[in-house]
Amino acid sequence: MRLTRPPLPVQAKGDPVHVRIRDVHKSYGDHHVLNGVSLDIYRGKTNLIIGPSGSGKTVLMRQLIRLEKPDAGELLVNGVDFAKLEGLNLAAMRRTFGMVFQMSALFDSMTVFDNVAFPVREHTDLSRKEVRARVMDRLSALGVADAAHKLPAQLSGGMQKRVAVARAMILESEILIYDEPTTGLDPITTEMVDDLITEAEEMFGVTSIVISHDMASVVRIADHLSFLHQGQITATGTPQDLLHSEHPATAEFVRASRISLD
């Protein structure tokens, strides 16, 4: 059975807000991780969700792509509540999202080519020739065509990220989510990954959501950002708005990261 992405509702096309997250709660036993998170994700922009370790960023990301179901709240994607979908509707809606995991999560038993071809083979009836053309086109666009026959373990961290982006975008998803894309990378690779996020957005016209605690990336790539602290959004706006936030936790985070716009 082929899962087809649901058509974009007509009223959603002109809406600058791509995803509306409303009053999302998530607890594990007695531990409340998300305490009513509400924020907007803007269409075609780079939206950063930042915050200190343990603030709930990864848990929010897991709700956003429905790896977990929120206890309460709404995840309105193009006006459809993603939080309430189940079964095949949920699976079909997932194709709206492409995901780039922190450690890339490429299948280590497959070559780069097979990793990128995987979603195409699973969800389309394209011939081998068409699959090959589409995959090589994506790999070339991201500058990793030469690595097509290699295994992920043979690639550098930056190249793995490029392959992960190629795989996430191969079905032309509307929204690309990056989970801590620069964690553990050296400064040069970090800058390369930041450029990659901007490139992918321009190249494929996607909405980017970046989960991060890297303030340098915020300043470099963010169009819009939200600061998550103890399971709540405490500041939202442009990078300038964040740097001038008067919320104590946000101001402390900015101060500790020693970043300015000058």
Binding site: L3, M99, A105, F118, E122
Partner: protein, 282 residues
């Protein structure tokens, strides 16, 4: 009385610590008692999910073939090697024991019966556990802790259908085949030791074996091996699929999978034997 205040406050504090320790001990005891039931219910839940997704398209034939090759073809050498020695040692023990009362001619019959009904299915399943089961847990566990299973979900591919179903089917099909192989090679090992080394008549060995062992004995072993095949792969998949805690967590999951599989094989052996023989469980 400068010391009075600290003493008075220390007593309720001590009592409260004792109450907390008693509560922790109680919770630990309850969870320890419940954990086998929790584990079994989780296994049945995964089995149900596998059946639910297994009957739905897409059917990925390549994955089934790969899993069968890994569990079946990959275990042939190990199963054959252990079968030769198990058959051989059975012959050594039985010829030696039967000679005391002149019944060594029954060696072939007893070995055939023991291999077909008990030793073949149990040993073949244990070998599959040690080679393929542990590897499956490690592979799925690594996929879990490196987010590869989450990646499948985000690509709208059901991970139970993609990862668990082919392995379960392969276990169900290949463990009985490996059991048959174990039986044949085990008889060969026993024949070699009993006839070539201990001087038993080859005609009598084979004649007694054919006289006592019939299709019911072989089918009893095959029914068991099908149950073992599903149990071993289900436990291996469950432990790997839900592994957590990085590399150390994968190691612990693999350890649990091997121990649980070994226990499950022996417990299920008793239960299936009771059912097949119509003796009741206890």
């Amino acid at each position: 009385m400068p010391d009075a205040a600290p003493t008075a406050s220390a007593t309720p504090e001590k009592a409260s610590k004792l109450r907390a320790a008693a509560r922790d001990a109680g919770e630990w005891l309850i969870s320890a008692l419940l954990s086998p039931f929790v584990e079994i219910s989780a296994l049945f839940r995964l089995l149900w999910e596998a059946v639910f997704w297994g009957i739905r398209p897409p059917y990925r034939g390549r994955l089934f073939v790969e899993a069968m090759e890994f569990i079946g073809i990959g275990s042939i050498f190990l199963v054959s090697l252990t079968a030769v020695f198990v058959g051989g040692v059975l012959a050594l023990q039985l010829v030696d024991g039967f000679r005391d009362f002149g019944a060594e001619n029954q060696t072939g019959a007893v070995i055939g019966l023991a291999l077909a009904r008990e030793v073949g299915p149990v040993f073949a399943a244990l070998m599959v556990t040690s080679r393929a089961g542990s590897a499956m847990t490690t592979e799925l566990g690594s996929m879990r802790v490196t987010n590869q299973i989450d990646a499948l979900v985000t690509m709208a591919v059901n991970p139970v259908q993609y990862l668990v179903v082919p392995r379960l089917v392969a276990g169900f099909v290949m463990v009985p085949i490996l059991t048959m192989l174990f039986n044949v090679v085990g008889v060969f090992g026993a024949f070699f030791v009993a006839v070539s080394l201990l001087g038993l008549d080859p005609g009598v060995f084979m004649d007694r074996l054919k006289w006592l062992v019939d299709w019911d004995d072989v089918s009893q072993g095959l029914i068991k091996s099908m149950v073992f095949g599903v149990a071993v792969t289900l436990i291996a998949c469950r432990q790997g699929f839900y592994a957590q805690g990085g590399a150390a967590g994968v190691g612990r999951a693999t350890n649990r999978a091997v121990v649980q599989s070994a226990i499950a094989i022996l417990m299920l052996d008793y239960l299936v034997t009771s059912l097949v023989l119509g003796q009741g469980f206890f």
